[in-house]
């Protein structure tokens, strides 16, 4: 190939992100460029470093492309965090992906040092509990819950529960030992972490709404992109459009299904909040949003404007 691009990420080569998103994308680029671009994928941090370093690696050109989680480097992407907030994202990755595209100009300053290829979300966090059935906000009070992110921790606090931070691989045993009583994660990770056996209940909103989500960043080194000949630049640009964003929304909605099935098959239950209970959870979520707005204002960011725009875009795209 005329150009070889290295793509670095932290998941295993068997993970859905690798097989359903990154590999197909790499293939597409190879085909569209008639083999002039080869994208070599290095999964599992094979090129060295820890997951939080991926963003720096792509910015500094250590690698050409990364797929990473902005939440691993809190503080670095203050604007993009808006889509992780509870009550902003609902439960549909496709809708939120489209919303991100729509308001992207307002987020662009987070990404001035790289060429963003796609910013997307997963379907969202549900609350999976080992043994306690939660149907109202009162039920979660005092529970120890593994938090997925910074804003997730705030939300757990607002619920009157204790946020516990821990690496994902520790979650399984922590649940079985009662170190935590629940965790906020998507259903996607049920198969590898045996969460179906370890949790009895999974809590979501009445319409499968979730409690916040995580954003993902697929990005390319700026110089690498700028040094491509124009026709190859076009190949890249043609493959990062709305269709790609929508496709990934569908992929991330779909990867929830096996986990949801496992929870029901294992004799567990997916609990849907009723309207009153949901309103109470949302009220707690609103407090998180308010806290976030106050915090980003220290950095001169108009958080309210971002929240309003994000909410409107999510609503517009949820049809």
């Amino acid at each position: 190939a005329e150009v070889t691009l290295t793509l670095h990420h932290f998941l295993s080569p068997k993970a859905p992100a690798h097989t359903k998103m990154l590999e197909p994308w790499a293939q597409r680029i190879a085909e569209a460029s008639n083999g002039r671009i080869e994208v070599k994928i290095f999964p599992s941090m094979a090129l060295g470093g820890k997951p939080p370093e991926l963003y720096q690696q792509v910015r500094d050109g250590v690698v050409d492309i990364v797929w990473t989680v902005p939440g691993y480097t809190p503080g670095v992407f203050p604007r993009t965090e808006v889509f992780e907030l509870p009550t902003v994202h609902q439960g549909d990755a496709k809708a939120t992906n489209a919303a991100i595209r729509e308001v992207f100009p307002m987020l662009a300053e987070d990404f001035t040092d790289v060429k963003p290829l796609l910013v997307h979300v997963h379907a969202g966090n549900a609350l999976h509990t080992a043994s306690k059935k939660v149907t109202s906000l009162d039920d979660v009070k005092g529970m120890k819950i593994r938090t997925p992110s910074r804003s997730g921790g705030w939300m757990i606090e607002e619920w009157g529960a204790d946020p516990v931070g821990m690496p994902l691989p520790d979650l399984s045993q922590s649940l079985s030992k009662g170190v935590v009583e629940g965790g906020l994660v998507p259903f996607e990770i049920f198969p590898p972490f045996k969460l179906a056996e370890l949790t009895k209940y999974s809590l979501v909103g009445g319409g499968n709404e979730r409690f916040g989500t995580a954003t993902f960043l697929f990005a390319m080194n700026k110089d690498t992109y700028n040094n491509l000949p124009d026709d190859l630049k076009k190949v890249i640009d043609d493959n990062i459009g709305p269709a790609f964003s929508e496709e990934m929304g569908v992929v991330w909605n779909e990867v929830e299904k096996p986990g949801e099935g496992m929870q029901e098959k294992s004799g567990g239950e997916i609990v849907h909040l009723d309207a009153t209970a949901k309103a109470n959870f949302d009220a707690a979520g609103e407090k998180v949003v308010a806290r976030w707005i106050k915090e980003v204002s220290d950095r001169g960011i108009d958080g309210q404007k971002l929240v309003d725009a994000a909410r409107k875009a999510v609503a517009d795209n949820s049809k």
Binding site: T4, G48, G49, E53, P167, Q173
Partner: protein
């Protein structure tokens, strides 16, 4: 030149540098950076100058790791226990019970090594601490010199399997296993080792009574004191291992509480003119600095080296070769273990885990049937998680055997140096029966993986 060939050359250079006594961590960093430079010449898309930017965050991120915080804590715990003379109390306490049998003092030394292993993360520290405590006693009782040093060198290896163990922590981090489950898996194999060693001593002194003198029972008053002192030590050490074993706490809290308890008890002992003085605390901290500094530097070196090997495509090539060939699974594991025993004669255990295991592990995963295989269809009849645990226990036992095999057996060096007048050859000869019985233990765990898997299975439901 292909990336894989550069990778293999890099491996050769690494061994050459090690042979010239270049410190392990330093050699890893040099080969990693040099290798990446060579790769950038052969494969231009792996640019060198940008690669260097990785060093902006690589060092900090490799030390800013919650899981690894147990390393200095476990090490500190061991040094504090040793400096507060808890190792002596342990040995004398066990001796109060079994000292009356022929070979009993040697058996006490094994028991105390195992007990001390429960607060100490490292084999070398276990060997040197217990060596200092038990060797004078064994010599005073007229045990044959080579037998005495052999027992202690072998007993020192118990430090690694009896949790907590730094080596198990590092292994768990490399293969992304749960540290707690690794600890739990080590409990039964560790106990088996203790029983086997004691059994070996009983047999040896029966065959060759000249090695161990007729036992002299401890005077009553002395015995009472020894037992009284044993109790608090057993309570502290026991609560750590029980807490870990039952999964009541995760490793860092266990280590933190362990240090705290030993520290408080050490201060309490000062009322009797013993325990932790300021000088001894200082000594423990400085010793912790040396051991932890060494470990952290090797960990960082391994991170740099890993970046080179995977860029070169080496582990991947090995795994895909293993996946496509039709190797007999158990034979592969046996070949790997033999290779580890041989390498263990020349390399230190930590760098073996860090350098060699990353090559072996992907091969095993491929042979087993990949990341998401279920126990029912897997080649080893266990899922990925259990494979991690089983192979980890096996390979760590084997790696630790390297500590007692010639020509480079660090435990043997340490104990011989402590003894002063015992030739290294004598110690190697004394350690051989234990080496032999270790092979039996390995064969058992190979044949019955449940020995390792039973406790974690039981505890994670």
């Amino acid at each position: 030149m292909s990336g894989e060939i550069i990778g293999i050359l890099g491996l050769v250079v690494l061994f050459a540098l090690l042979a010239f006594r270049i410190p392990v961590g330093l050699a890893m960093v040099l080969v990693g950076i040099g290798g990446n430079f060579a790769l950038s010449l052969a494969l231009p898309y792996l640019r060198f100058e940008p690669y260097l930017h990785q060093f902006k965050s690589l060092l900090w991120n490799s030390v800013a790791n919650y899981d690894l915080s147990v390393v200095p804590l476990f090490i500190l715990m061991g040094y504090l226990a040793s400096n507060a003379n808890l190792s002596r109390d342990l040995f004398q306490g066990v001796n109060a019970f079994v000292g009356k049998y022929r070979g009993g003092v040697a058996m006490s030394a094994i028991g105390a090594c195992a007990g001390f292993g429960a607060v100490c993360g490292s084999s070398l520290a276990t060997a040197s601490t217990m060596g200092r405590v038990a060797l004078p006693e064994l010599r005073r009782m007229n045990y044959a010199p080579g037998f005495a040093t052999g027992v202690l060198a072998a007993g020192g290896t118990l430090g690694i399997l009896i949790p907590p163990s730094v080596a198990l922590v590092i292994y768990a981090i490399i293969v992304e296993a749960s540290i707690l489950e690794m600890f739990q898996a080590a409990i039964i194999p560790g106990l088996i080792a203790v029983l086997f060693f004691i059994f070996a001593i009983a047999v040896i002194v029966r065959i060759k009574p000249s090695l161990a003198p007729e036992a002299v029972p401890m005077p009553k008053a002395e015995r009472r004191i020894a037992i009284r002192r044993l109790i608090p030590v057993l309570l502290i050490f026991g609560s750590i291992i029980l807490g870990l074993g039952l999964g009541l706490f995760t490793p860092t809290p266990a280590a933190g509480i362990g240090v705290f308890l030993i520290f408080v008890y050490g201060l309490y002992l000062r009322r009797f003119g013993e325990g932790l003085t300021v000088a001894r605390i200082k000594e423990s901290l400085l010793a912790t600095a040396v051991t932890s500094g060494m470990i952290y530097f090797i960990l960082f070196g391994a991170e740099v080296l890993k970046g080179f090997f995977s860029r070169a495509g080496l582990p991947e090539a090995l795994a895909s070769w293993a996946g496509s060939s039709s190797l007999d699974p158990i034979s592969v594991v046996i070949v790997m273990l033999i290779a580890l025993i041989i390498l263990g004669c020349f390399m230190d255990s930590l760098s073996m885990i860090l350098v060699v295991v990353p090559f072996l592990w992907p091969v095993l995963v491929e042979i087993n049937g990949g990341d998401y295989v279920t126990a029912a269809t897997a080649a080893f009849s266990m899922d990925l998680n259990e494979l991690k645990i089983w192979f980890g226990i096996l390979s760590l036992i084997v790696i630790e055997l390297g500590l007692i095999t010639p020509p480079v057996g660090l435990n043997v060096f340490i104990i011989s140096a402590l003894a002063g007048d015992v030739k290294m050859k004598e110690t190697f000869k004394g350690v051989m029966p234990f080496f032999g019985i270790e092979l039996v233990r390995i064969a058992l765990i190979l044949t019955f993986p449940a020995i390792a898997l039973f406790v974690p299975r039981l505890l994670s439901g």
